[in-house]
Symmetry: D2
Subunit: 118 residues, 4 copies
Amino acid sequence: MASIPEITAKIRAFRDARDWAQFHNPKDMAIAISLESAELLEHFLWKNPEEVASRVTSHLDEITDEIADIAIYLTELADNLGIDLVQAMDAKLAKNEAKYPAEKVSGSSKKYTEYPEA
Amino acid sequence: MASIPEITAKIRAFRDARDWAQFHNPKDMAIAISLESAELLEHFLWKNPEEVASRVTSHLDEITDEIADIAIYLTELADNLGIDLVQAMDAKLAKNEAKYPAEKVSGSSKKYTEYPEA
Amino acid sequence: MASIPEITAKIRAFRDARDWAQFHNPKDMAIAISLESAELLEHFLWKNPEEVASRVTSHLDEITDEIADIAIYLTELADNLGIDLVQAMDAKLAKNEAKYPAEKVSGSSKKYTEYPEA
Amino acid sequence: MASIPEITAKIRAFRDARDWAQFHNPKDMAIAISLESAELLEHFLWKNPEEVASRVTSHLDEITDEIADIAIYLTELADNLGIDLVQAMDAKLAKNEAKYPAEKVSGSSKKYTEYPEA
């Protein structure tokens, strides 16, 4: 199991064996993605950098499952909408390159709207 | 551009050209994923099923970008933690198969804790 | 127990008896509010309008607790930042009145940026 | 303007003048609360403790509005469900007292399930 198309086919099969497509409209899929993101973030609530680093070791299995859950819903949603996920990531990275030129933003985490006009 | 390893290399290069790894600890990456999930979900606030279906057509480009943003952060986080994303999805699907046996849950959206004991 | 000042004092006392102010910086409080919001939203995942209406009856106690959790963190955060919560709500409602004039938006759920220029 | 009942009446009036109750079912209200929570959390993405402290000063007006937005939706949702918000907070604080006895948890941020059995 090594590719997005293969895992997407597995996700579709899992959903259809349970007749769950009826629930998987884009709005509920977006909610599901948000909820799984919260389960991931919950691991780090109240934690300082040292504790965060420790947590990703002590709870790596759970965190891996959380990440997988987000990825599964996201992959299915993209598939349902006819979006090529890797191509979309590639295109967005290109947009990000333009929004955040390396020579201008290096080392700064400001949002692009917070940069003074060139 | 067609594989996760290739896009992951691009994401790393983008981040390192800007010296942004210093900000990309797991806690902030999890926050970023949550925030991007909210941007996706925002498209569907107040909308009924017909309006949701219409929205994914009228705003497909924006929605594609939102999905790409989530995927980019998720891919980088998995890479930072040494997680093989597709393998993790595969393993989690197997766990889901056990939690939600097709013959038991077909057509029902209840969470596994809401099913009567077998 | 009937007022915000009284409940705020109780929240402060609860936090200080446990020496928890050290964790309650604005960033972690905002994360906590997001996580509790997700717990509330989880009740409605996959559910259609009839099922949503049924859920708020069958699970009213849990939903009440979820709402209380959000309110508790929000009240403490406002207090920590020296914000008068009710006054802030009042001011924001006034801003909303200007952004969404009743005669212009009645019956429509579009965001103000989606309205044609007057 | 100093009480929850007064601000609740204002919120109801604002909603009804625009005929918006039709959109304010519990599911969409919960989504709205999540989205506003994300807008609040966005202020602190990538920021270390010093930058967080600086942000709540430099952007206090925006952050106050974000907090007000969450509070407004939460207040209306509680009202719609017949929940007395302050009473619910009081009851939940009492439950929290039992879950996290001060003598046991003082100075520790662990979740109650992470404490060893007494």
